[in-house]
Symmetry: C2
Subunit: 301 residues, 2 copies
């Protein structure tokens, strides 16, 4: 396989064949009845995982799912792994003694003890389950929505509206001024962490326009050229991170204190130390699972 920057990001490598492909069972009941079906389970936002030797497993049989308090009305079909169908649903948080734990997806991505393809399927599952839970009623007429096609969409019998799982495109960009890059720090970040700037795209703009708007809004820096680098599915709850490098046309920072508690230029050497967690006063970048890490690393190296 060739090298692809997006492969380096956590939650990539989803190997499930989607429901869009012809010939897949499209109802939850059909999927449950199929041979080898397995279920990913969530207790609210956290995935249930079991320790298997040195690895983790996030796949449960239907019987196991029932014993873990599966809510059958929450089930959706994710896709097929070969002939075996994969579903996802909501369960209750397990007791300590079961050997099964509820773990958030950030921690699972950082630990790396789960098969990457299953981690990606969990990202798909978490985004999709969240969307279904947030869309039980029709936005147009207020009537109840029903599940279509095992989770492909939701439909309103009253007004005919059909809606599909939502993905929010976000631009995340490293502004570069020669040998320096621009990093910001939000108050909610872990101590010492600085990251690339980011923000939700808005209707009526290109990716490049969104990059220029967001950097200007958050830091006051003017941006010229924008170069796409890689992308990442970000299931918190359902973003598509679109990572870019961006050429700074100005250098004086006036950061938006409502968004950031600090924002400044870092030279290549300082960025390298932060990536390696060897910075003298403990400053650091996000973990390798995050697209921001690789945006910074591809500049620093």
């Amino acid at each position: 396989m060739f090298r692809e920057a997006s492969h380096l990001n956590g939650f990539s490598g989803n190997a499930l064949a989607r429901l869009g492909e012809a010939g897949r069972p499209r109802s939850v009941a059909d999927a449950l009845a199929s041979e080898g079906a397995s279920v990913h389970l969530f207790a609210e936002d956290r995935a249930l995982v079991r320790v298997v030797g040195e690895k983790l497993s996030a796949r449960f049989t239907q019987a196991e799912a029932q014993s873990l308090g599966l809510d059958p009305d929450s089930l959706i079909v994710l896709g097929a792994d070969g002939q075996a169908l994969r579903l996802a649903g909501l369960a209750t948080a397990p007791e300590k003694q079961t050997g099964i734990e509820a773990v958030d997806l950030r921690s699972l991505a950082i630990q790396g003890a789960l098969d990457p393809a299953d981690l990606a399927a969990l990202a798909q599952a978490r985004s999709t389950l969240h969307w279904h839970a947030q869309n039980r009623y029709c936005g147009r007429c207020g009537d109840a929505l029903a599940l279509n096609g095992g989770g492909v969409s939701r439909g309103c019998a009253a007004c005919g509206t059909e809606i599909f799982p939502r993905i929010d495109p976000v631009v995340i960009m490293l502004a570069i001024d020669g040998d320096r890059c621009l990093l910001g720090r939000q108050a909610r970040f872990a101590p010492g962490m600085y990251s690339a700037l980011a923000g939700f795209m808005e209707p009526g703009e290109t990716i490049e326009e969104a990059v220029r708007r967001e950097v200007k809004e958050e830091s006051g820096i003017e941006i010229g050229r924008v170069a796409y680098y890689s992308s990442q599915a970000w299931p918190f709850p359902s973003s598509l991170m679109i990572g870019c490098h961006a050429e700074a046309l100005s250098t004086e920072i006036t950061y938006d204190a409502a968004e950031l508690e600090d924002c400044r230029w870092f030279d290549r050497e300082e960025a390298r130390l932060m990536l390696a967690h060897r910075h003298s006063v403990g400053l650091k970048t996000p973990f390798k699972m995050a697209i921001a890490h690789h945006l910074i690393a591809s500049f620093a190296d």
Copy 2:
């Protein structure tokens, strides 16, 4: 200004400062009361425009908007053009004799008689107005939603949910096998038109993974490397087109007849003739306003 591929696409060049910037009036009433405020109007999906010499104008004063049947409850604030605020709202289709016509955004983009920045603002307006109309009730609890911040979001007083305008990322890609590119034809296309394949992204995949999945689903062709080319806001109703070139690893097409009525390879020379509308049997590509045109042109030239 440097050359940027996304600049070539219709609806680019939005010059409005968004509401996200500090210091902008955030309510519709404040915006209407501000000096120089203007309104973009829509009769359902079509923008109201007036002929001014050889050009078109899509800006109306508040008084004009009222005379055109503006629904005041539909108004949202788009942003600021210098000091002057821009709003958008729904009106009634004008009578023939008023000199004002309701025109769909595709036609406006093809004609090129409207200022590109105003065309981009119309794209923003159409996507955002459509979203507000489709989200009058809370998806989580079914209660009525209220407009927040002049249209920045909608909020539910009953359960506290806040939702923001939705943008659907779509991958649109030109698969390339050496000197040939892959184009498909949907039954709803104009006669003779072939375009790049495209499809909505799904939760839990990168842009590159979505490109490989969509090309495989629609044409049976396996894709290797994917290279981002440009992006386009596509207000039908609210997509973000993410345009890529994609390296074909196989050549035998098995197209999905539910999606396409034809799909085949075209060599560079045939693509050039189609772009120039000089093809011997009248085959053609989409117009220059569409990202597909430029994906094909950048391959053919």
